[in-house]
């Protein structure tokens, strides 16, 4: 593992057992284009990490690789001490990782509450779908999440009728409802106004601790509100890591965001 492993936020807990996710030297090769190039990253339980980088840096590909949507050409993804690199997607999710996609991935034909109920199911094997009745704990959890994401009064309208920001929240709610240990949130504030963005930041900060959260976003004010460690990616590789303030001042980071001329020959 390389230098990306941060000091534990919580302090005294043993860093080995506290390790939740380790991305170990992952390369993803799209017909010669290396979207990820020997990238490594570790996340401890209960922490929040923000991933930034210019377009094409490989942020979404990293999420894709963790969740199994894209397969690593080389390298490994270790989750809770087990190699999940080659597991089927649904198996990875059942182990405790869930992802919010860039474009809201709600099931538009189903009602808001049904979207959450599907996500909240503990037993997701197919034959369990024939069981009658609804688990009381799941029901309570969904009602709770509905309150949290502010959609309780619209629980029974089709998810497709929600406004864009509400869809984003519903999807965050679905990701949370799965009880995943690791939440991957890809641009959770896309299409939101400043007020909604702050609310989202507050929501995410409340999730940290019980969940480990990896957020991808561009919006600097959002990042400041999250106040988490930031990992900067560039051309599929690790560039920098540090606090929001430190990253803001960093000359290398500024260079990849502003002056990209000298790298263009690699593209």
């Amino acid at each position: 593992m390389n230098a990306t492993a941060p000091a534990s936020h919580i302090g005294t807990i043993d860093p080995v057992t506290n390790l939740l996710l380790a991305v170990d030297g992952v390369t993803v090769d799209f017909d010669g284009f290396k979207a990820l190039n020997g990238f490594s990253l570790t996340l401890d339980r209960g922490t929040l990490r923000v991933l930034i980088g210019p377009n094409g840096a490989g942020k979404s590909t990293l999420c894709d690789t963790i969740i199994g949507r894209v397969r690593a050409t080389s390298g490994r993804v270790i989750f809770k001490g087990q190699d999940i690199t080659h597991l089927p997607e649904h198996e990875i999710v059942r182990r405790g990782i869930c992802r919010k996609f860039q474009t809201p991935g709600v099931l538009s034909g189903l009602s808001v509450v049904d979207n959450l109920m599907i996500a909240a199911r503990r037993d997701r094997r197919w034959w369990c779908s024939f069981r009658q009745g609804v688990d009381a704990e799941e029901k309570a959890r969904v009602a709770d999440i509905l309150e949290t994401i502010g959609l309780a009064d619209r629980a029974h309208i089709p998810a497709g009728q929600l406004a864009h920001g509400e869809k984003q929240w519903l999807e965050i709610g679905m990701v949370v409802a799965t009880r995943a240990d690791l939440l991957l949130l890809d641009e959770p504030t896309a299409g939101m106004g400043p007020a909604e963005t702050s609310q989202t930041a507050a929501l995410i900060r409340r999730l940290v601790g019980q969940h480990t959260v990896l957020v991808i976003d561009h919006d600097m004010s959002f990042l400041e509100q999250l106040d988490a460690r930031v990992t900067v990616m560039h051309q599929g590789q690790f560039l920098k890591e540090g606090s929001v303030a430190a990253i803001r001042e960093d000359a290398d980071v500024a260079a990849v965001y502003l002056g990209r001329t000298k790298e263009e020959k690699h593209g």
């Binding site: 949507r69 538009s108 034909g109 309780a152």
Partner: protein
């Protein structure tokens, strides 16, 4: 007649929250109406002629297959252009038994004798038993459908690809039946049945009994499928139809959900084929190939791909029209059928059930607008 599953009345969050689509069977108005229809249909033997009763029985049997397609295509989004194969397997299973049951010791079915066969092919032998034949009606199509769809869906081949592969299946099956004349009866298929389990099929009592059996199976399948579509399984199946990957990334494996739907569809098609064979007295490759298979889809498209009652109504309507038009003007029928394909699919994707349902709860203007814009599920 609105059987659409998308319009469950919203239940308030207080009281019995989250129970909407998962609630057990409710004797709602559509169900009560359907039961009344079944009661009227049960009187048919005294209301219509023997010929008409036979037609009705055949079309009701086909309605079983059509309801299966509602699950597979309407709810699961899986278009099968090979339902004729499963229909045929059910039909041949029962026909083989009746052929064998009519024989004395050591005899062979007539067409085998004419083709110079001197022993019964091994795969015919188990069908001497009526139990094997009746189980085979459901198990043979069921097992084939499960294996076939699992092999394709597990590799995430679906949509248009799956439809094309099912069409190839229909072609292969029909070709095989025709070419293996000595053991399948070839182009003529199997016919000339006298008795089933000692019952003389030519008698009026048998005709009435078979009709009621068909009606009972249709009613049972209707209720069973309705239950299934309102269950959590049904909800997940629709969710997979609308966003397979979203469901996958919520930790569900979509493959078995689709395999189950396809298998149930095949079992119902097998039953339909067996009943049809009993009513029609013949089963032949002409009923199972590429063209009949895709016609089965149009029954459901006309009635409404998401409506069980619509599927039955569509089956009855298309087949009655075919019976009426094609005998009088055979050329005209194919033009009409072609036009129905084009018009229903482009202008009325919800079928007539969709039209009826929408008229029931929206204004005409809205409906007209959506027809003109042509945008609907």
């Amino acid at each position: 007649m609105d059987m659409s599953i998308h319009r469950d009345t919203p239940t308030p969050l207080t009281g019995a929250p989250l129970s909407g689509p998962m609630a057990g069977p409710r004797f709602s108005r559509p169900v009560a109406l359907s039961l009344a229809l079944v009661a009227v249909a049960a009187l048919a033997p005294w209301l219509v002629s023997a010929y008409e009763l036979n037609l009705l029985a055949r079309f009701l049997a086909m309605g079983l297959l059509a309801m299966g397609l509602v699950l597979v295509w309407g709810q699961g989004g899986v278009l099968s252009l090979g339902q004729g194969v499963f229909f045929g397997l059910g039909g041949y299973a029962i026909a083989m038994h009746m052929k064998l049951a009519a024989l004395g010791e050591g005899e062979l079915p007539d067409f085998m004798v004419w083709s110079g066969l001197d022993a019964l092919p091994w795969w015919w032998v188990p069908f001497k038993s009526p139990l094997v034949a009746i189980l085979g009606v459901m198990l043979v199509p069921g097992v084939l459908a499960a294996l076939f769809s699992w092999a394709v869906f597990r590799r995430r081949v679906g949509g248009v690809y799956f439809a094309l592969i099912t069409q190839a299946l229909a072609l292969a099956f029909a070709t095989l039946l025709v070419s293996q004349q000595p053991s399948t009866g070839g182009f003529n298929g199997l016919t000339d049945f006298q008795t089933l389990m000692g019952v003389d099929l030519g008698s009026t009592a048998a005709a009435h009994g078979l009709y009621w059996l068909t009606l009972a199976l249709v009613a049972g399948a209707f209720l069973g499928l309705r239950l299934l579509m309102n269950s959590r399984y049904g909800m997940l199946l629709r969710a997979i139809r609308d966003g397979e990957n979203r469901i996958r990334f919520l930790g569900y494996d979509p493959t078995p959900f689709k395999v189950v739907a396809f298998t149930i569809g095949a079992v119902l098609a097998g039953l339909a084929g067996a009943l049809f064979t009993l009513h029609a007295g013949v089963v032949s490759p002409a009923l199972v190939g590429v063209v009949p298979s895709i016609e089965m889809v149009i029954w459901v498209a006309v009635g409404g791909r998401n409506s069980l009652a619509g599927a039955i109504a569509g089956t009855l309507a298309v087949n009655l029209a075919k019976d009426g038009v094609s005998s009088a003007f055979p050329d005209l029928w194919l033009y009409a059928l072609g036009l129905v394909f084009v018009l229903v699919v482009t202008l009325l994707p919800g079928g007539f059930a969709g039209l009826v349902g929408d008229v029931a709860d929206t204004s005409w203007a809205k409906r007209l607008k959506s027809i003109i814009v042509g945008r609907s599920k």
